[in-house]
Amino acid sequence: MNMSSSKKWLALAGVLCGAIAAALAYFGNPANMAFCIACFIRDTAGALGLQTTATVQYARPEIIGLVLGAFAISVATKEYRSTAGSSPAIRFVLGIIIVIGSLVFLGCPLRMVIRMSAGDLNAWVALIGFAGGVATGVVALKKGFTLGRAHVTNRMAGGVLPVLMLGILALLIFVPSILKFSETGPGSMHAPLVLSLVGGLLFGAFAQKSRMCFAGSLRDVFLMKNFDLLCVIAGLFVVMLIYNIAMGNFKLAFDTPGVIAHSEHLWNILGMYTVGFAAVLAGGCPLRQLILAGQGSSDSAFTVAGMFIGAALAHNFGLAASATAVNAETGEVVAGAVPFYGKVAVIICIIACFIIAFGNKRSEGK
């Protein structure tokens, strides 16, 4: 079975991944987060002590499972290729940028779609920015943007990130006391470890076979009028929509306390603009970076490392947005907001994207 060969299989892969995300939300993951890559990398960075926000620390087995699932399926289907050398330092910076943009919006592209399926209008607003960012990246591609060639390298190099993920899993199972665990907040909400791990492994395998990519799906529509990858996202959206309606989670609104979102429209748009732009330059969204790293790309492993550092910076420097919430004492709704430094960081990230996008031309990379 080749999942990337027909729209039917691609949509089915999206449906299966949506079902996994819904199941994990049902069994304990934060409802509207379900399977957010940026949030879960941020939580894992917190568990490792890279950032110290007490409410977002948990070594998410989903992240470990995604990388290991992609690794296992790519080895089994002979798609594992150990490659490296395509501007790793720039990819590291793009990883930082992707996560800062995500944490200003409060979610990666996957969570944006999950939030859209729950009726969160802030996510629909952010989609405008995301599409704009992808479109800007497409303009750069048409102008000859490239990060240069990766080269096949020794087989062990591509296995480094999977082994590191295995190491985090070993700590989580055998010496959990060495890691940090949130007692309250989103980090304290999680499905049982085994379910999260199995869910991550399956999601990783399906995502690897279907080439699921949130930035790639729009990029291919803009660039080539190709809707293949969009079928995967549509499948996932439909399943999450059905789940949210069935569970009574669907609320068509802007101010939604408990959802972990804010209604600063400009910054929702600019946050996801940053993510869309940087993801096209890096060759894929946060999910795709984990999958590519799992199937042997050291360059994507650098992007993943950048995402961990970006998450640490976003929380240590107070760049991440706060969510709209209800004050427990007064019962009043307190609007979530993007901190001043978060806004400055997003603008710096957008400038950095433009420099990278129009400063790396194909003629130089030969």
């Binding site: 080749n2 490239t146 096949v152 291919d220 080539m224 293949d228 060759g283």
Partner: protein
């Protein structure tokens, strides 16, 4: 025969370079790629243009010959 060396390039560069080469000439185009999904994407592009193709595995990836 025109050769597009897209080995090691990130998506969607192999497709863009192939598309450009097909537009620029009417001769056969040989595309070299590293990853299996890139080979498939090049094949899909050929198919969408109504062109025939043959694919082979090479030492460091794949070659797709179009037309």
């Amino acid at each position: 025969m025109k050769t597009v060396d897209a080995r090691g390039l990130s998506c969607p560069e192999p497709i863009m370079l192939t598309d450009q080469a097909l537009k620029e000439s009417n001769e056969q185009v040989k595309v070299l790629v590293t990853e299996p999904h890139q080979k498939m994407n090049v094949e899909k592009l050929a198919k969408s243009k109504g062109l025939s193709y043959t694919s082979n595995e090479t030492e460091d990836g794949f070659e797709v010959i179009i037309r």
